[in-house]
Each structure stands twice: as structure tokens, then as C-alpha cells.
């Protein structure tokens, strides 16, 4: 099969697999050709293990900017601390906000990073914040880097997967459709499940029976084989592969149906949207999807920060804690990296509206599961949370760490348009203390 580096400008890189699978439209679909499978940059010592047990990633994205003071880095009884108190966790000596009582009991599965500073890259802007947290790079004009989900789908996914490698469950619509995969090619762009709904057009039309559908498929296959016997190319192979994957996806459509989960689990995760979406995430991870992101909205609390965090984190705490508990109990946490992040944090200072504004100079993220040394706090902020006190990290450092946690080499050079691009920002480094 023809070897093709991405960003080559051919048709097979202009129509994404996400779009193909996200809205199947019969013969209109084009497909990418090659590139699935474990990459040569996977560390040799773990390559066989990766092949044996696929690494997966779960990201919980708290849109708008979670307040670190109402979550992972509380400062009770201080001028900036707000009205909530801190509570003990399952790890002696680690305290988090009282808004997260159930998550506190999962702390042994998690690691807190309290010393994140992304101010140079973020400048208080939601878009720039999301970009640097998702790519590990500062957003610059004319340069595009792939999101974490695309990278993981590209290098952790396998060709056998009938499901897309990067699935993003959003609370509302179907995603923004940006260039999420960048030079990796649109094949690794996310499949958005807007409001947790299954991809469009994946259900066999009611007027076509299963027998008729099978007959149509057999006819198409025969014609395809006849064509391929004389004019087989990489492109036609890609059509065939993607078509087959689409059929498999249609057959596995139930994967997206969270109502198939036990009623008790649905109740346990919460009857709100985020509860359903977290249960769907569990279902997708159990089905082998490489990277699942769930967005919970909205934490952009310039006004009445405390009441809104009480409401939002009440949902988060219930669903997230059950999800972590289940992943651990079912053995998935051993090979699933878990991240909880936002585009930035919120100001230590409380404004006149009882709100907190955008803050990127000293905030927190959470890591857990696969490859992470859990049950620890990395870094700290000062008494009022206004500055990082020690072990300062940037988003680039974290991006390196995420890759290394799943056995990938952050220094791998990807060839795009004849240009070598290091997968993770070469000016950053792995935070080895966070790794198991």
C-alpha cells in the first residue's frame, strides 16, 4: 500500500473520518488511507504491552474555567478562599473542597497538580486557553498542532477499531469543527456526540429490511471486488476500509445507547446530562474507544461563582466519582489515563458580583489512572493562591507527561510536508514525579 504522509493535500486527507462516520451519506464519503496502528515512536519496551492491552484516555473538560479554589486547591478562611471549607480525602494529608465529597474518596486514584501557570499562552482568553491545554503549545498565527485526542487516536488506536479513536461528548451541539487533528489529518479529528446522541445516519432506514440491506451490501462488495481486481489503488483500498468500518459502526450503534446500561447505574451516575454522558464514556471505553472526552458546562462564573459551582460540582462529583470507581473496579483504570482540566482557572480575588474571573497564573489540573503516580499533590500555591510557590509547570510539561504516561515518546518527530515536527513542545519536559 502506498505510504502517505499527512498534510499532503490529497483528497484522502480532505474528508475526515469523523465526518464520514459522524454523518454517513452513502457513496459521498472519502477516506484516509494508511497510518493506523502502533507507531514506530512507541517506546520499544512497552510496544508489545501496548499491542496487548490498548492504552486509553479519558478527559473530563470543565468548560469555562473551573475554580481551583472551589475544587482542587481550596484556601478556606482566607481573603480569597470563599465560603466553602476543605475536607479530608482518601489520602491522608490531602484536602480538597467540600464541594467534592465523593471525589475525595477517590483521591488515591488521582494526582493533583496545583502549580500550573499558563498565563503566557492564555492571556485570559478562552480560545487560547483551550488551545494550549489541548495541544501543549501556545497558539500562534499560521501554526496548527493536533489536539491530545487526535494524537492519542493516531498513535494508540489500532486499525482493527471499528469505532472512531477520538470521541467527544458535548453537552450541546456537535462541536466546533476546527482543525483539531492538524497535520495528523482529518481522520483523527473527533467524532462529536452532541448532547450524547449517537452519530447521525448510523441507523438502517426503517423501510430497508436487514435482508435487503445485506443483499445491497453483497452486491456492492461484488462490484467493488471486480473493480479492485483490475484497478486496485491505495485510494480504493481506503474507500473499502472506511466503508467496512462504517458498517461495523452501524452494527455497533448500541455502543452509543446509554439506556442499555443498568437502571441502577443510570441512577448512580445521575439523571442529569453529565451523569448520562459519564456513563456513556464508561460504555465507550469498555468498547475500546481510544480517547473519550466529556465536556461539562459551564464554569465561567464571573457572577455568583459559589452558587454556580455548588450546582455544577454537585453534578460533577456524583458522576465523576462513580466513573472513577467503576473504571478502577473493572480494571480499566490500569490502562486508562484520566485527566480533568479546563481552559484556565479562576481569580483568587472575589469580585463584587460574588464572582471569580479568568485566572491562569496559578491553577490546578487532575491526572489519574494509567502511568500516573496517584495519591499525591504536585506543586503548591501561596497562602492566598495568587502565585505558584513551587514546582511550576506549564501546559507543555503536562502534554509531555500525558504522552509518557501512556507509553509514547513526546520527542517523536512527525514528518509533515517534509518538515519534522516534534509531537510535544520541545521547550517543555516530562514531569517525571507525576509518573508511576
Amino acid at each position: 500500500m502506498k505510504r502517505c504522509d499527512y498534510a499532503c493535500g490529497t483528497d484522502d486527507h480532505t474528508v475526515s473520518r469523523r465526518r464520514f462516520l459522524g454523518g454517513l451519506t452513502g457513496g459521498a464519503a472519502l477516506a484516509a488511507s494508511s497510518g493506523f496502528g502502533l507507531s514506530s515512536f512507541v517506546r520499544p519496551t512497552v510496544a508489545s504491552r501496548l499491542a496487548e492491552q490498548q492504552k486509553q484516555v479519558l478527559v473530563i473538560w470543565l468548560a469555562g474555567g473551573l475554580s481551583q479554589l472551589e475544587s482542587w486547591d481550596p484556601k478556606p478562611h482566607t481573603e480569597t478562599g470563599g465560603p466553602f471549607r476543605s475536607i479530608e480525602t482518601s489520602v491522608p494529608g490531602i484536602q480538597i473542597s467540600e464541594l467534592l465529597p465523593r471525589t475525595a474518596m477517590q483521591m488515591h486514584h488521582l494526582a493533583l497538580v496545583r502549580s500550573l501557570n499558563t498565563s503566557a499562552a492564555t492571556q485570559g482568553d478562552h480560545g487560547k486557553g483551550a488551545y494550549v491545554m489541548q495541544t501543549g503549545r501556545t497558539q500562534l498565527p499560521g501554526q496548527e498542532y493536533p489536539q491530545l485526542g487526535s494524537v492519542m487516536a493516531r498513535y494508540l488506536g489500532t486499525e482493527r477499531d471499528p469505532l472512531p479513536g477520538y470521541i467527544h461528548i458535548t453537552p450541546g451541539g456537535g462541536g466546533l469543527g476546527r482543525n483539531e487533528a492538524a497535520y495528523l489529518g482529518p481522520r483523527y479529528a473527533p467524532l462529536y456526540l452532541g448532547a450524547g446522541h449517537a452519530p447521525a445516519n448510523t441507523q438502517r432506514p426503517g423501510h430497508i429490511t436487514a435482508e435487503a440491506d445485506q443483499a445491497r451490501h453483497a452486491l456492492r462488495a461484488r462490484m467493488n471486488d471486480r473493480f479492485a481486481s483490475r484497478r486496485r489503488t491505495a485510494e480504493t483500498e481506503a474507500y473499502t476500509t472506511t466503508y467496512d468500518q462504517a458498517r461495523q459502526l452501524m452494527e455497533k450503534r448500541d455502543v452509543f445507547d446509554v439506556t442499555k446500561e443498568p437502571a441502577a447505574d443510570q441512577e448512580r451516575y445521575g439523571t442529569h446530562d453529565f451523569g448520562r454522558h459519564c456513563l456513556l464514556a464508561r460504555r465507550l471505553l469498555e468498547s475500546g474507544v481510544t480517547y473519550v472526552q466529556v465536556t461539562h458546562s459551564n464554569y465561567d462564573t464571573h457572577n455568583e461563582n459559589f452558587s454556580f459551582h455548588l450546582e455544577q460540582l454537585g453534578e460533577f462529583d456524583q458522576s465523576f466519582s462513580n466513573l472513577i470507581d467503576d473504571l478502577a473496579a473493572r480494571g480499566l483504570l490500569q490502562h486508562t489515563l484520566v485527566l480533568v482540566m479546563s481552559e484556565f482557572g479562576r481569580t483568587p480575588g472575589i469580585n463584587y458580583l460574588y464572582g471569580r474571573d479568568h485566572w491562569d497564573a496559578s491553577w490546578s489540573v487532575v491526572l489519574g489512572g494509567c502511568g500516573i503516580r496517584t495519591g499525591q499533590v504536585y506543586g503548591s500555591t501561596n497562602e492566598k493562591g495568587t502565585e505558584v510557590k513551587d514546582k511550576l509547570v506549564g501546559a507543555g510539561h503536562l502534554f509531555h507527561t500525558y504522552l509518557r504516561a501512556v507509553g509514547l515518546d513526546p520527542s517523536f518527530d512527525f514528518e509533515a510536508d517534509g518538515r519534522a515536527i516534534q509531537l510535544a513542545d520541545p521547550t517543555a519536559r516530562v514531569v517525571t514525579e507525576l509518573l508511576a
Partner: protein, 334 residues
């Protein structure tokens, strides 16, 4: 002497160094108290300005009430604690864990026998003033409860929540006897995925026949504080009352954090938000205010002095401002 809202002016500016969140006059009128973000209660002698500070909570102090004799203060905080204080002493008399999470309102029965509390845990609880034991727990609200008050004769306890649900409880039987719907003050903002609004405060009319609820309307962007302050007026005597909406004439953004029904028959609301701090004076039959006053800083709480001539407002800048609704006294000349 009668109050003249159009003459309202700043009579006293009492400063604290941290933001205030609520305020209450002592029924005797000599003291005014405020709950603060610094976890303390600050009290001032209204005449002399002498200040006391009471420390005992482990979170912001959201709610205050005093016995009719002004001798006992009861406070509720974000720590879920209910604390009794003897006015004049600086140490708590009694401290109990009353709610899981914030206590949003405290109200003492007119006969001084019990105190009722409500909180974010959606519970209404009644406690003995004598020994602090719980005498009743009244479930029924499904969302955080923001406001509570006994009526003037102590027959009913009235509670109101985020959804705008107002419940009348029979104090004797402890049964729910009536509900009113102030859902116009509530909104679920679909795009942001948040609940917002609710009854932030309420006040019964002098004859107990009408109820004024303050809050907000037109919350197009709750996370960005885009909403307008408003009052819903209920005719409680009516069997199925349709509330009347009162709102400022101009588009001044904010929330109606406090409301009081004046014995002379008008309603006053304090608002705070991106539009600044304001006092709004409404006649019951009018939609818009007949007078307004800018407060120089966003307001977070309101109370009416027992003399009916003064108002107190709690502010983010840490000041408790006392407003006189009478003609300013001319400055003395020498």
C-alpha cells in the same frame, strides 16, 4: 414623623474592612449588624458608630436575626452552623451544626420560643431558642432555599427557594398549608446549563395580606450577571393570586437582593450588580418606581429600622450604610 422616600439620603457610613453580605437592625433600633465575608458578624451602635466584631463561624455569615428585646442574636453561616450570641458579649452562647452546607436565612418566632433556618440542603428546620434542640424538620423544597420569615403573628412560617416556590407552613401543625409560585424570578439558562434566580428575599405587607418577593428577571447571561432586578407582588388574601411584576423604569442590571414593605404602604428594594447599587421605591399599584437612589456601591442586603425612617444596606466595599428617609438636617453654622 412619616418617612418621605424622596428625601432619602446617607445618614451614616459605617465601615468594615471586608465585604458584607447581609444586614439586620436590632428590633430595639439601637444596633445594626452585618454578616461578613471574613466569617465574622460586625455590629455598630447606630447612633455612636461604636463597632463590635463577633467571631465564631468558619465561613461567611449569610443570615442574622434578633429577638424582640434585642438581647439575643442568632446567626447562620456557610459552615452550616447556627450560633446564638448574647448581644454585648463577644463569645458564642451556643453553637450547633444545623444544616449540610450554607444556612441562607434565620428567622426568630415573634414569641421568641423558636428559630427557623433554611439552607442549600433544601431543608427547613425549627430549633428551640431555649436549648437549641431541633423541634421540627420540614421537607418539601426541591432546590436550595434562600429566604424564610415568620409572619407577624407567628401563625405561619414562609419559605422560598431557587425555583421561586414559596411555601406557607402552619407553625402549630408543621404542615404545608399553601404554595405560591414566583417562578417568574427563576430561569434555567439552556445555553449555559445553569439554574439562576429565585426568591432572594421577601417581605409581608403591614396587614399580612400582601407579599413582596425580590429577585431578578430577564437573565439572558446568568454567568455574566446580565439580569434585571424585579419584585413580584402577591395578594395573599386572593385564593389563586397572579403576582404583579414591578421593575425599574430604566435598564439597570442587577439582582434585587433585599426587599422591605414599609408600614406606610410602599415597597423598597435594594439591588446590586453590574448596574451598581440602588434603592428603588414602589407604590403597590404601580409597575415602576416612584423614586430611586444610587448607593455608590453594589448592595447585597437591606433592612428597615423599627422607626420606619431609616434603611440599612450592606455593601461589597465593606460599608454598612444607614439611609434616612426624611429631610436632611441642615448643617449647623457657627
Amino acid at each position: 414623623m412619616t418617612a418621605d422616600p424622596t428625601q432619602t439620603h446617607l445618614a451614616k457610613d459605617l465601615a468594615h474592612d471586608r465585604p458584607l453580605v447581609t444586614c439586620r437592625f436590632a428590633p430595639t433600633g439601637s444596633m445594626a449588624f452585618a454578616g461578613s465575608e471574613d466569617e465574622s458578624i460586625v455590629g455598630w451602635n447606630v447612633e455612636t458608630g461604636e463597632k463590635v466584631q463577633l467571631k465564631g463561624h468558619e465561613s461567611w455569615v449569610f443570615a442574622l436575626d434578633l429577638t424582640a428585646d434585642g438581647q439575643t442574636l442568632v446567626s447562620g453561616g456557610g459552615d452550616g452552623r447556627l450560633i446564638w450570641w448574647a448581644v454585648g458579649a463577644d463569645a458564642p452562647m451556643r453553637r450547633i451544626d444545623a444544616h449540610r452546607g450554607w444556612i441562607n436565612a434565620v428567622t426568630i418566632h415573634p414569641d421568641g420560643s423558636t428559630v427557623a433556618t433554611v439552607g442549600n440542603d433544601r431543608m427547613v428546620r425549627i430549633w428551640s431558642m431555649i436549648d437549641g434542640t431541633q423541634v421540627a424538620e420540614l421537607p418539601g423544597h426541591e432546590r436550595p432555599i434562600y429566604a424564610a420569615r415568620f409572619d407577624a403573628v407567628g401563625k405561619h412560617l414562609i419559605t422560598a427557594d431557587l425555583l421561586g416556590r414559596i411555601v406557607f407552613w402552619d407553625v402549630e401543625t408543621r404542615e404545608e398549608v399553601r404554595r405560591l409560585d414566583a417562578a417568574k424570578l427563576y430561569k434555567y439558562e439552556t445555553g449555559q446549563g445553569v439554574d439562576y434566580g429565585g426568591v432572594r428575599d421577601f417581605s409581608l405587607g403591614p396587614d399580612g395580606a400582601r407579599l413582596a418577593c425580590s429577585g431578578l428577571i430577564e437573565a439572558s447571561n446568568p454567568l455574566g450577571a446580565v439580569s434585571n432586578p424585579a419584585i413580584l407582588l402577591f395578594d395573599v388574601a386572593d385564593g389563586a393570586p397572579e403576582p404583579k411584576l414591578q421593575r425599574p423604569k430604566e435598564d439597570v442590571k442587577g439582582v434585587g437582593w433585599g426587599v422591605r414593605w414599609h408600614p406606610q404602604g410602599f415597597v423598597v428594594m435594594a439591588s446590586g450588580g453590574t448596574g451598581g447599587g440602588w434603592l428603588w421605591f414602589f407604590k403597590p399599584d404601580d409597575v415602576n418606581e416612584f423614586h430611586k437612589l444610587n448607593l455608590t456601591n453594589t448592595a447585597r442586603g437591606l433592612d428597615l429600622h423599627p422607626d420606619g425612617l431609616r434603611l440599612a444596606t450592606a455593601h461589597h466595599d465593606g460599608h454598612l450604610r444607614i439611609w434616612s428617609m426624611s429631610e436632611p438636617t441642615p448643617a449647623k453654622t457657627t
